[in-house]
Amino acid sequence: MAGPLPSEQIELLVAGYVLGDLDAEEAEEFQRLLATDPTIAQAVAQMQDALELSFAPSEAAPPAHLRDAILNANRASHANRASADPSPSSGRKFPIRLRQILELLAAGLIIALAINNYQLRQSQQASQSPVQPQNRLTYALRSTTPDLPAAATVAVDPKSLEGTLTAKNLPPLPPGKVYALWTVLKPGAPFTTDSQNAILTDVFQVDAQGNAAQALAVCDVHRSREWVAAVAVTVEDAAAPQKHQSKPILVAAL
């Protein structure tokens, strides 16, 4: 171990960082310490080791092909996002030659994905299983009170468990409050829920016009509608939205 032991207060901050529970003020203090005290990084590494030795399973080496599969999928996704949102600054970022190489790589990936998709379809047809539609699951949330003309739409890809949330005409909230998006499950659903049978799916804010649009990463319950009873929005405390203390202001009941 290098350097002197940190003081007790510093150790508590390091432990909080490793556990992921620093509040905003502590986080600021910790970042300041990290930037000025070279022993902090070592203390973090030791604390992380102690936590994992005690509670994490052994590490395991994945198959070698997984790395390339993940990096290729990420590059393809990145290329798609870049081509869908071309901006002048991104156009100047790379020399033309590099950009051409990236475009070729992206094109190659698209072809590879197309071939892969074709092979997958062939495989599905060969096994005579019904072709699964790539439909997104869409939930149209409506206001629960006539005097609030708000609405929201949640669309989820049941395969990737990624989705989007768009909302309109919701009043901007005061500081300390946040909109919470909930997935309410049917009784007996085999998922961990809160006391109201709900899973906190995400939190969001609206702009000055009352609109919101953001990406979602949802849990496995969204692989189908089987266990979903409703999707709802409430207003919660920003510090603890999981407490689920408010009634829905928007809901899509199934």
Partner: protein, 195 residues
């Protein structure tokens, strides 16, 4: 850990997780490989331990890293990336386990494979008990039962401090302090086994 402003590929491998995560979210797709190399053992190991199926563990590992690149709720100022990844992987693994068509059979098979000797409350606790060396078991016995329980709830179940406080009917500040002091004690006891 260096806090450099440079973001050239050569310097990336020396950068902290926080710096790399910020670069990744800023569009530097290439740094995902470095984060993968650093943490895939933990992510894949956790997924494999719970799911027991290498293919499913692979799929989940892919989901976790792509989620990291695209959108996730990690706040690098408030906690370490490794802990975030461990909790996320465990939580997603258990979700998958539960949602399998033959979930009961899978759970039974998994539990049988773990051969617990009893006295544990959740499937996720089996793994740790078998993984722990005698030294770690001894270190854990030096923690109070509250400290052990709080650390398990935080790291295994991924519960927030507020949720733990509510579940154990303890003040939030008490939960936070006990968790941190418990971890500090573990580090002190296991000093020969850490970096």
């Amino acid at each position: 850990m260096q806090f450099e402003s440079s973001s050239s590929p050569d310097s990336s491998s020396q950068q902290t997780d926080t710096e790399l995560y910020r670069l990744l979210r800023a569009g530097r797709a290439d740094v995902l490989g470095i984060l993968y190399d650093r943490h895939v053992g933990l992510v894949y190991g956790t997924a494999l331990k719970i799911l027991t199926d290498p293919q499913e563990a692979e799929d989940l590992t892919q989901d976790i890293f792509l989620m990291l690149a695209k959108k996730c709720s990690y706040d690098p100022a408030r906690g370490s990336l490794r802990t975030f990844l461990a909790i996320l992987t465990r939580s997603r693994s258990i979700d998958r386990l539960r949602s399998r068509t033959s979930s009961r059979e899978s759970l039974r098979r998994w539990q049988t494979n773990q051969s617990p000797e009893g006295g544990v409350d959740s499937p996720s606790e089996y793994a740790s008990q078998l993984e722990q060396s005698q030294e770690v078991q001894a270190a854990l016995t030096q923690l109070s039962s509250d400290q052990q329980q709080i650390l398990r709830l935080a790291y295994y179940e991924g519960l927030s401090q507020s949720q733990i406080a509510e579940q154990l009917n303890l003040p939030l500040g008490t939960v936070k302090t006990r968790a941190r002091r418990g971890l500090i004690k573990l580090r002190q006891t296991l000093t020969d086994y850490t970096r």
